[in-house]
Amino acid sequence: MNAHLPALQVVLPLLAAPVCVLLRNRRVVGVWATLIAWASLAIAITMLVHTMEHGTISYALGGWESPLGIELRVDVANAFLATIVTGIASIVLPYGPGSATLAIPQDRQYLFYTAFLLCMTGLLGMSVTGDAFNVFVFVEITSLSSYTLIALGKGRRALTAAFSYLVMGTIGGTFILLAIGLCYQMTGTLNMADMALRLQPVMGTRTVLVAFGFFVVGASIKLALFPLHQWMPNAYTHAPSVVSAFLSATATKVSYFVLVRVVFTIFGAAYVFGTVHFEWLLMPLSIAAMFVGSIAAMYQTHIKRLLAYSSMAQIGYMTLGLSMNSVEGLTGGLVHLFNHGLMKGGLFLVVANITFRLNSSKIQDMAGLARKMPWTTLAFAVGGLSLIGVPGTAGFISKWYLVQAALMKGQIWLALLILMSSLLAVGYVWKVIEVMLLKPPTKRVENTTPAPLRMIWPVWVMIGSTVVFGLWTTWTGTVAEVAAETLMGLR
């Protein structure tokens, strides 16, 4: 049974998506999608446990053995990622109706679920596949469905945002396709593991160099690495909040994972860091992302855009972890991938609650909100503390690993930069908290009521888990460390 899980993981949401179109009824569809997400989560967790205990699962799709056939290859890292994606989906989907009622006409809500499930399929596919071309396919599935999801947002700017994302996403996808093509040209295989083996003799060629370059830039666009992040703020701002929550927590993360895969599995650390010195490019860009993203966030007047820029900064931490080329660094990156998913997802859900009641995402409109929506405000505060990296929250754990990695490499200046950039988070988080806590309430706030319970509990599941995973790191820390070791080939 376990052997079939990787296939099931991808196929289940893929098959469930068209069913949504058939069902149509928004309530039924909502329940259906939620069930699928939960089932996927169960599969992902099973895979994760299995891989932790028994090692990699390899599944030959259609019985065609690799390298000729398509291989689904699940190691701890893949399973970890799949768990994140399905986990976030499991929380966001039950929440969906609340947000959906606001943003999307009722008769078209089944489309939301369809697109959502397709998006999930793409993300899971990217997570579990061992085939390079498959990656491209799933990237495109993800991208196309997410354009749809973003375009579902209210107002015309959602369309422009989606379009802008489409343009950038297509460029990214094309770059990835180019890279795969070049690699195929050099190796004649599409299976990643096989490709890695066959690349070894031709490593010195320009073609490989360029192929890696295209991979890097393509993936960087997808994961919104500075300065290729431009699609992101608009997309997150204008998409329905629930979509922002899901995408911010998963899409960029999976893209990050693809980059990690490319670096370690296909090209290998020796080539990437030894020959090309990719870190010379990646590290400055990551640091710039950390600072520019946080500073830009500080100047935002809309809370969703603020969170989007914050995401850009947080992605900088992850890529920084990658650029350190050490188990600790990569562990930090992967832990942050998980933790940031939780907190940013949670925060976007908080925002969804607030905009649901206030019908505005302007920070100024939230004055005195603490008195009217205490639990929501508290959730924002906890999530914000996690972004800052206060101990006891998940954000602290990531920071700990990253700083530790920097110190172990003897790069004290880097450790200091990480810590200082995390301070900038205080700036943009507190900008909001101050308004919510200390400003006298506006009329709009005075007339509002707390969000309904069905919208509060998913928020608190996400936010609560940032606290849980901020103290109890056995799961995240260990898994991420094993995943990092697996990726780096140390296991």
Partner: protein, 524 residues
């Protein structure tokens, strides 16, 4: 058994929070809950004293967080003293706070008291932590749980103060304290507080002062100059906050951290032999003197006390940096001594504000005639802060200064301690002189509400209502005889209690010293 008590003491303050929230519509019940919780917590902490005094070191391990770094608690004498101070002063402060908050007609009292309980919870967490990670965790909890207290007034001044408060505390703790902790972790592979230190033999050369500096400045709550600005700014908070948190729990968390690091992370021998603390000694000495001089010139009552606190904290830091057994024990004793004295002073400052609407030193003329008990208590506490018998503060200073006689290069610090006593007289005794011996001024008083306590020119905003008595049973004066009109009993009681505590500490100092001696390897 002791471990059970420890966990009880740890969980009661946070356990009472939901109950208080549930009772938010019934202020009397809510406040009663807090007092009960305070009494229970204190009882638990006191209950541990005999065992710890006999050498027990109760431990509780929650779970591993990082490799070799668990969330764990372990109580030793220094931590117990800090816990005793924080929990022991919680009850009187609660009572005082009821009188103050109601008498002053403050809003958002539930939020206030809940944050208060959280702060105590964090302080106890700090006191009992078994390693630097646990300590840092609760250190930050303390920072954030006190933010709503500092900004309680909600006006512009409070907002500004809140920014400075958070800005300095978070900046220092993240860029320096956390850096130092991680650095230590990378070097030593552990963060446990260990008798004799964990860094001995692992660091040398300039790394010792650098690391120690990161710790000392990183513990921004210790308000070592130049990271002291948050403390006077935090004085916009309601006085109970200034009293318990910004004179006791929060600032002591800073110096407690420094002491813990010096004793259990570096170890006295390492610092003494390498001279790693030489620079910081001078920083602390400069802080003592400069802040005292600033205090001399301040007219705002609470601001003056705040600078006095900065100076007193630097005493403790200097005591720690002298790294002799005597000075370290003295510094540890001074945590309790200063807490008891300074809380009294703040109580009096707050009572002046609530009862007679005076917030400036120059407005206190003649108040001692009206309120002899209160200002008598003030005088005793002031003696303690100055370091004069019969105030407990004199013993702390004795041991710290004794530590400075151990080597000639430290001799100047003996004089720093002595000179600072004189400066303390200069800024505290005029208050006594004015209150008791100058005729009361007639004319409009300038302070009507807390916002003015921070006299940066930004006066209260319109959103802060004029002082009104929320509860008519709490008229904030207690008439005794014809001319004497003391402050309300809910405030006067705690004031007398803590002032008596100053004298009690003077008498109990030998026991305290014997209790603390094991932390530097002395006999039980």
């Amino acid at each position: 058994m002791t471990a059970t008590l420890m966990m009880a003491a740890f969980f009661i303050p946070i356990g009472v929070v939901p109950l208080m929230w549930a009772a938010r519509k019934m202020p009397d019940l809510r406040d009663g809950l807090m007092v009960v919780a305070g009494l229970m917590t204190f009882a638990c902490v006191v209950g541990m004293v005999p065992a710890v005094s006999d050498g027990a070191r109760p431990e509780v391990l929650f779970f591993q967080v990082f490799d070799g770094v668990p969330l764990a608690f372990r109580l030793e004498p220094l931590g117990l003293v800090y816990a005793l101070v924080a929990s022991g002063l919680w009850v009187p402060t609660s009572l005082y706070a009821f009188g103050y908050m109601r008498g002053h007609g403050e809003t958002n009292q539930t939020r206030f008291f809940i944050c208060f309980a959280l702060a105590i919870f964090a302080a106890l967490g700090i006191a009992m932590s078994a390693n630097l990670f646990t300590l840092f965790t609760f250190y930050e909890v303390l920072t954030f749980s006190t933010y709503p207290l500092v900004t309680h007034a909600g006006n512009k001044a409070a907002k500004r103060a809140g920014r400075i408060y958070l800005g300095i505390l978070v900046t220092t703790s993240v860029t320096m304290l956390l850096m130092a902790i991680l650095w230590t972790y990378v070097i030593a592979g552990t963060l446990d507080f260990t008798v004799g230190g964990i860094l001995a033999g692992k660091v040398d050369g300039p790394l010792v002062p650098i690391l120690l500096g990161l710790f000392a400045f990183g513990a921004g709550k210790a308000a070592l100059m130049p990271f002291h600005r948050w403390l006077p700014n935090a004085m916009v908070a309601p006085t109970p906050v200034s009293a318990l948190l910004h004179a006791v729990a929060v600032v002591k968390a800073g110096v407690f951290t420094i002491l813990k690091v010096v004793i259990y992370i570096f170890g006295l021998d390492l610092l003494y032999t390498t001279g790693g603390s030489d620079i910081l000694k001078w920083v602390a000495a400069a802080t003592i003197l400069i802040s005292s001089i600033v205090a001399l010139r301040l007219d705002n009552f609470k601001a003056r006390l705040a600078y006095s606190t900065i100076s007193q904290l630097a005493y403790i830091v200097l005591g720690a940096m002298l790294v002799t057994p005597d000075s370290v024990v003295g510094a540890s004793m001074h945590i309790a001594m200063h807490a008891m004295g300074k809380i009294t002073l703040f109580f009096v400052a707050g009572a002046c504000l609530v009862s007679v609407h005076k917030s400036k030193v120059s407005e206190l003329n003649g108040l001692g005639r009206k309120m002899p008990i209160m200002f008598g208590a003030f005088s005793i506490a002031a003696f303690s802060i100055i370091g004069l018998p019969p105030g407990g503060g004199s013993w702390g200073k004795w041991f710290m200064a004794l530590g400075a006689t151990s080597q000639p290069s430290d001799y100047p610090f003996v004089f720093v301690y002595m000179l600072s006593s004189l400066l303390a007289i200069g800024y505290l005794m005029p208050i006594v002189a004015r209150a008791f011996f100058l005729p009361e001024k007639v004319g409009p008083s300038t302070a009507h509400h807390e916002a003015d306590a921070h006299g940066d020119g930004q006066h209260a905003q319109a959103d802060h209502p004029e002082t009104s008595i929320e509860d008519p049973s709490l008229v904030p004066v207690l008439p005794i005889g014809e001319t004497i009109r003391e402050t309300h009993l809910l405030m006067l009681g705690p004031i007398v209690f803590t002032a008596a505590g100053c004298i009690a500490l003077f008498l109990l100092a030998p026991q305290l010293e014997a209790f603390l001696r094991p932390i530097v390897g002395g006999s039980q």
